[in-house]
Symmetry: C2
């Protein structure tokens, strides 16, 4: 007969096996309560026996939902990826939270220029219900374009310029200010900073925190810029010392750069913290293992991820969300300061 057993079972297959209609099977699959218990039961049995799994494409076509959320990591994010625990941490946080909501995480790596367009197409195609953007660089036009596309979006880190989309960020400046107060309280008077890239909000705000903190001292700022990675911290520290050999305190805008600074200081014969006290930012795992262990400003990386997920899920449901959520940071004091 026409009993093609080939292919994966569809609603129709199940319906026939259970002696019901497609509609009723669909109701059972989607947990409708308006199905007679015994009928539902036999349908469930048929589903199990046939190993039926709904076809998400067919479902999306009619529901206009995909139950998946994109996490976009643009440009530099992927560069930093390899030696930084920030993005992995965010990914975990977002992933776990989405999993609880039974949503899928779709990772879009925006490494090249061309991928920018691909992403836009992808999002436009409504392959995802919403977007979490790890926006980093000021020049990034993606947040705007996504908003214009009418896709729910929330970004990690306040966008540079005016924030037109909701975001999750941490209290960069006040965390740094706490670090500065700590240094000053330690009696440090010649405090330099290794700043992050100034086209990223994190870089700017941490520098602002340093400058604010310095005001209390009435001292001149001493700034060298790095790229958040270790090597740049080593180099910046060397330039700093060349500019002023009497530096007795350093705030580095990332733990990796702080670790780099520690190395340069040691190499140039400075003892930490006796000669120079050092404080970092991030509180990544590696900070506990520097020599000496790094005093640092802790930021709740995992929570950033869960909050991002929470917000985007709300937005996708059409609910309102706060324009911004700013999570606290706190100073973790270890032996380097």
């Amino acid at each position: 007969m026409n009993e093609t057993p080939a292919g994966r079972p569809t609603l129709e297959t199940v319906a026939r096996a259970a002696g019901a209609s497609r509609a009723t099977v669909s109701r059972v699959v989607n947990g409708s309560t308006t199905v007679r218990p015994d009928v539902a039961e036999s349908i469930r049995r048929a589903i199990a026996e046939l190993g039926y799994v709904p076809n998400p494409a067919a479902r999306s076509l009619v529901t206009q939902r995909t139950d998946s959320i994109a996490l976009i990591l643009p440009e530099s994010a992927t560069r930093v990826f390899s030696d930084d625990a920030f993005f992995p941490g965010v990914i975990r946080g977002v992933g776990e939270a989405l999993e609880k909501a039974d949503k899928q995480l779709v990772l879009l790596l925006a490494s090249t220029k061309s991928s920018h367009d691909r992403i836009l197409r992808y999002v436009h195609g409504r392959t995802v219900d919403g977007v979490v953007l790890a926006s980093m660089h000021g020049a990034d036009t993606l947040p705007e374009e996504l908003r214009a596309a009418g896709v729910p979006v929330v970004t990690s880190g306040r966008p540079l310029g005016e924030a037109t989309v909701p975001y999750i960020d941490v209290e960069h400046a006040s965390g740094v200010e706490a670090a500065m107060r700590h240094l000053v309280g330690l009696g440090r008077r010649r405090i330099a900073t290794i700043a992050g890239p100034q086209d990223m909000v994190a870089g700017r705000e941490r520098l602002a925190g340093y400058l604010n903190g310095l005001e209390a001292l009435g001292a001149a700022p001493l700034v060298e810029e790095g790229d958040f990675m270790r090597q740049s911290g080593m180099d910046a520290m060397e330039r700093l010392l060349a500019r002023d050999p009497d530096i007795d305190g350093v705030f580095a805008a990332s733990d990796l750069m702080a670790d780099g600074a520690l190395r340069t200081l040691r190499r140039l014969g400075r003892r930490v913290p006796d000669d120079v006290a050092v404080i970092g930012f991030d509180d990544v795992d590696a900070a506990r293992f520097t020599d000496p262990p790094l005093t640092t400003v802790h930021q709740p990386i995992h929570e950033i991820g869960t909050r991002l997920a929470e917000q985007i899920l709300r937005l996708v449901e059409g609910e309102e969300v706060e324009a911004s959520v700013v999570l606290p940071t706190r100073l973790v004091i270890r032996e380097s300061a």
Copy 2:
């Protein structure tokens, strides 16, 4: 009239605007060459003006393809995630390669037991064309289940037990053997190892390499196990020294554990490499920054990713692939040995 301007434009909208049929528009969208140039041109214009983007769900429904590939990171993988550069590196490699092929990367984090089922459903639903599995633990039944589900799959790391799916791996044992030869060549005679978890192939094979290398020496093995993370390396080194204070060489199965060993050795007054030579495995970024810089066995993490992508793309196209690809490792000599 019935000119509802609402909603996103569909093929039909474009067809009407360009005075053609849906089929022809579809041809243009999909780059068919059998369309008269001027017609194609006007269709393209209409597409641009209307901002038409194909609906992937509708397309998948008929083509049975989704043009996306899942990368599954099971259990421990996500745990290690935070302080290890391996998975981020693989993700980047896979992501970049897929991007070139215009495929999407869907990241599935299998953190909990329940997610195992979710993943199976997801894959069964054919939301992805193929799966790249970062299989790690011996007990993992996922490779089998996926194969049984008839989904193209390739794993990162040879599965424990018999390999039923194609995999990409590196030459663990021979890399370690090179490390052992180096140690022996340095005159080391009391060589211990900090092994990785023995329910992972990487852990086992690196231990096998150590044992092989030791044979040349005719010496008794000295083994403590860690979990690839830094803290476990610190602890294992301490146990090792307690068992034999005369150890003069150490092979650690990961750079992170090697770094841990370095710290314990320093704390206990051993000079590296004068008293004890240390070699790690992985060649992560951090290995260049340990004190002293770590001699280590390099594995091409990024290439593992690109190879994985390459293989799964082949499989999805229905082509044959080698049952296994094993990439070379090489010893990178730095000051710790």
